[in-house]
Symmetry: C2
Subunit: 236 residues, 2 copies
């Protein structure tokens, strides 16, 4: 009887083809040994964070671990959410990153806006990447949250694909809307200090539709989370 | 010209009638002086956290502050959400409390379940109450989140009002559901370790409908937040 390791998923950025052996990243070896109590011979699942899931056989869990791909499959992930968000206060962006990753958001684009800057973004970058990997393992997802460097509104909007559904979190917006299906949905959330008038106008001109996410006034990170959860509750 | 203080709301548990003077709680005096930069003569809003909002004139912001109620109104809050939640890991319940409060959830009922206990609940109680007050100020809400002491599932279910809408977060549940309007909605979220079979059966017998909150597997606190955000996106 081949017992498998505790339910687990490891992050392997460059997954080879079926049948191929490869080196396991040291962090994943640590995770498999210490957290999953896995042993050589066990089968586990892996994700490359870019749509590919694989079943692996663990060959070695020594300092330099090794695995072999048994089979792999690609999940297209045509239903995507992008969050374009002004700076939350303090370290609240940390948990925002974790929660957006868990909910299956594809892109987190920090926005540099007139009333709030992402001063922390460069110093927190490494921590944020670790959080997205932890969330990938936790949620067993084929896709990892992509964190982009902070940019201004014009640059962020230029990167939004044609045909994407566009939303802006706004307490005065519409309620009771149905989340879009198989498409890219982009949600813009202002910073705690609010959007400047010219920023609001640019978003309205860009076809962003105002959606009210709750009765209450929300902090920036709560609004971003609420928009992502609203999106996640929908279907393809 | 009577300048008002920066947009602000203070928490005054026992708001007297219009025209009456009363002592301001010391924490609110501190908040008004240090955060809002308010001065005697300013007008601010107050909430008693139990449905009443008031407009106040600040009479004194000395160590023992005082205010006078100018007018008051009651918000019935017939549309309610209750979250019955198994224990999240570590200190993650702290931000869960904060976010549920911001989203306008009425009741947070920690659940003692077979696979997870709320060991922290008594020691964190004071902190949680502070978080609900901060969220009340932040969200300018008439209602404060009520945090109940942890109880077992049977006791928690016995407290659910007849006629409440009943939901259980479940990855295998239904998608694309519309949040209920003017009524009490109760969402049950299992702990990270999952619900035991007999707990699931009891909930199914109790009329709890399975709702899938995201494609991904979610941590307990993320699922609770996602359910609350789904509810908050609906209308009366």
């Amino acid at each position: 009887l081949q017992a498998d390791a505790a339910p687990s998923l490891v992050f392997v950025p460059h997954l080879p083809g079926a049948g191929d052996e490869f080196a396991l990243p040291p962090e994943e070896v640590h995770y498999l040994r210490r957290v999953c109590r896995a042993r050589p011979g066990d089968r586990v699942r892996a994700s490359d964070g870019a749509g590919t899931l694989a079943s692996l056989e663990l060959l070695s869990l020594a300092d330099h671990g090794a695995g072999r791909v048994i089979e792999r499959s690609f999940q297209a992930g045509d239903r995507q959410a992008w969050v374009l968000c002004g700076a939350p206060e303090g370290h609240r962006a940390d948990w925002l990153v974790e929660k957006l990753a868990e909910l299956g958001v594809r892109v987190f684009q920090p926005l540099e806006l007139e009333r709030a800057r992402f001063d922390e973004a460069s110093s927190r970058r490494e921590r944020w990447e670790r959080l997205t990997v932890a969330a990938l393992r936790q949620s067993r997802s084929a896709w990892r949250l992509e964190i982009r460097p902070p940019v201004g509104l014009a640059e962020a909007l230029a990167a939004v694909p044609d045909g994407a559904n566009r939303w802006i979190g706004d307490r005065e917006g519409e309620r009771g809307l149905t989340p879009p299906g198989r498409s890219i949905s982009v949600g813009v959330i202002g910073p705690s200090q609010g959007l400047a008038v010219h920023e609001r106008e640019r978003l309205a001109d860009g076809g962003f539709r105002a959606i009210a996410l709750a009765d209450n006034r929300l902090r920036a990170e709560t609004a971003a989370l609420a928009w992502a959860a609203w999106w996640a509750s929908g279907t393809s």
